[in-house]
């Protein structure tokens, strides 16, 4: 089994475009696809998946609740909350549910036992569906929730079960932007990481940070430069790849067809297989193909 994760640090550099097209090109390798961006899932839109075989409610949220019958309004709960999730509203403590992580500090200090931690509240959804390229799992985290890493781990576990059952052989993971818990969960256990960057200082800065994570997990990384002709004078990524002995496996030119393919809800290589960006992505896919037994 090979698990490929597509990550970038920076958002909007083309992860989903590349993941969806690579999935389309590698479907004959028996792949399963994971959209690991629970705060802004998008792959289902490119795959135009409208119905789900299974929708699992994800109940992980713990949140504090105040019993106002008992509350004596001493405001100690507000003082101890590390997350500033308790505010004073009309003279009474009020829990901001979109921030509260349910740690229970307020419960522990309450002198009249007026705080309860309610567990297993709905925090998101895991959805399982089918695409033309293989089985697909995506998720959506309800807004204002902490720690979506566990949700991503759950998704990956579903895909790994498909591998054990012989339903698929390999897994493609489209990671979230950033370097937080969702990306950490995406990277953990991956065989290869495709790190997507644009030729700008800011994208390079984010690339360094996501590469640090990949190194931490000992995931073998490759670099893809997207929109590479937007800044031909920039050699920062080239230098970074040499310094860290990283192979650049693709240089994708800026291509207006990409936006059009999104509007038509199709992977780029399916929308226009001969566009300049499509041709580059095909080379990347054939490189990956050799890594997939």
């Amino acid at each position: 089994m090979v698990e490929v994760v597509i990550a970038s640090g920076k958002g909007g550099v083309g992860k989903s475009t590349i993941s969806s097209s690579i999935s389309a090109l590698l479907s004959h390798k028996n792949i399963g696809i994971v959209d690991a961006d629970a705060e802004a899932p998008n792959l289902h839109l490119i795959f135009d998946t409208n119905s789900w075989e299974e929708e699992i409610e994800y109940k992980e949220k713990s949140v504090a609740a105040i019993d106002y019958e008992k509350c004596v309004n001493c405001s100690i709960c507000q003082e101890v909350c590390t997350y500033e999730a308790v505010e004073n509203r009309n003279g009474l403590p009020h829990i901001k549910e979109y921030i509260c992580e349910g740690c229970g500090a307020c419960k522990v200090v309450c002198p009249v036992d007026a705080v309860r931690i309610t567990k297993n509240n709905l925090s998101g959804w895991i959805r399982v569906g089918r695409t033309r390229y293989g089985p697909f799992v995506t998720s959506e985290l309800d807004v204002g929730q902490p720690n979506s890493g566990k949700l991503v781990t759950e998704e990956k576990n579903i895909a790994k079960k498909w591998v054990r059952e012989g339903k698929i052989k390999h897994i493609i993971v489209d990671s979230a932007a950033g370097i937080g818990c969702q990306v950490i969960a995406s990277m953990s256990g991956a065989t290869y990481a495709l790190l997507v960057a644009e030729p700008t200082e800011s994208s390079l800065s984010d690339l360094r940070r996501v590469f640090y994570l990949a190194e931490h997990f000992r995931t073998k990384s490759f670099i893809i430069i997207n929109k590479e002709n937007m800044n031909l004078g920039f050699n920062g990524i080239m230098k970074f790849s040499e310094e860290n002995d990283l192979e650049i496996i693709g240089k994708i030119p800026y291509d207006k067809t990409v936006a059009a393919s999104m509007t038509h809800k199709m992977p780029l290589v399916e929308y226009d297989g001969n566009s300049p960006a499509s041709r580059s992505i095909k080379e990347i896919a054939s490189f990956l193909e050799d890594l997939m037994p």
Partner: protein, 245 residues
């Protein structure tokens, strides 16, 4: 926090570095009575007890919430700290200061650092604070949005952009903050009906000048003041000023 970029466009380097910490328990075993309340109250299951009955911390699971310290009846948990990142205060010009948080790589939670960065901004007592949030809709974004007069929601008029915009709007509703939409790369699609019924206060055209300004590491309004995009951005700024004052 996770991938800060504003400083690259606004100034040459970050200044005024301060380390940012969260709480970490340190067990004083001479005071510990092995009552296990710290472990029982830890919702992250970050405290384990072995045969001898003393608590041990699993550092990667600890979120720094202090519940264990508050629960300990014998004051056996002392305050230690863990570095989660850095904050900076960089003067850009006489009227503009950039406050930045940089999350340490490998740190899972950006929320506490958002809070620390916000606190650092608040003590400077600015006339106006503008928050550039990270992507997504989690509590790290909610913390940045909180207490705002209103929010500018930037999106592309593609099905993907609209989908994520709706998620942000949903979060704003929960926070009771009004959201105004700015369409970026507005001419990508000529299909107006995919844009839901929100108040749109600006439409920035697809522009090579924006790409080039990014390449040069400058805001587009400085690099190409005459560009269509800059004209529209100035118009948006005027609209925002009207909303504020």
């Amino acid at each position: 926090m996770e991938c800060p970029n504003d400083h690259i466009l606004l100034s040459s380097g970050l200044k005024g570095e301060e380390k940012s910490y969260i709480f970490r328990p340190r067990f004083n075993y001479s005071k510990c009575t092995k009552c296990s309340l710290c472990r029982d109250n830890c919702t992250e299951n970050a405290i384990v007890m072995f045969k001898e009955g003393y608590p041990f911390l699993m550092p990667t699971l600890c979120s720094g919430c202090k519940t264990c310290q508050l629960a300990c009846p014998s004051k056996a948990i002392e305050e230690d700290r863990k570095e989660i990142g850095l904050t900076y205060v960089t003067p850009v010009n006489n009227n503009l200061t950039l406050v930045t948080g940089v999350l340490k790589e490998g740190e899972e939670r950006s929320y506490p650092l958002v809070l620390n960065t916000k606190r650092r901004a608040d003590i400077m007592d600015f006339d106006l604070e503008i928050y550039d949030t990270s992507a997504g809709t989690g509590n790290h974004v909610a913390a940045a949005l909180e207490d705002s007069e209103f929010a500018l929601v930037v999106t592309e008029p593609t099905p993907l952009g609209i989908h994520d915009m709706k998620m942000i709007m949903h979060l704003l509703e929960k926070l009771n903050i009004k959201g105004y939409v700015i369409l970026n790369r507005a001419d990508l699609v000529n299909d107006e009906h995919i844009i839901p019924d929100y108040e749109i206060i600006g439409s920035i055209p697809l522009s090579d000048d924006i790409v080039q300004s990014y390449v040069r590491g400058k805001p587009v309004v400085d690099a190409f003041p005459e560009s269509d995009a800059s004209v529209e951005l100035r118009r948006i700024m005027e609209r925002v000023s009207e909303l504020l004052w």
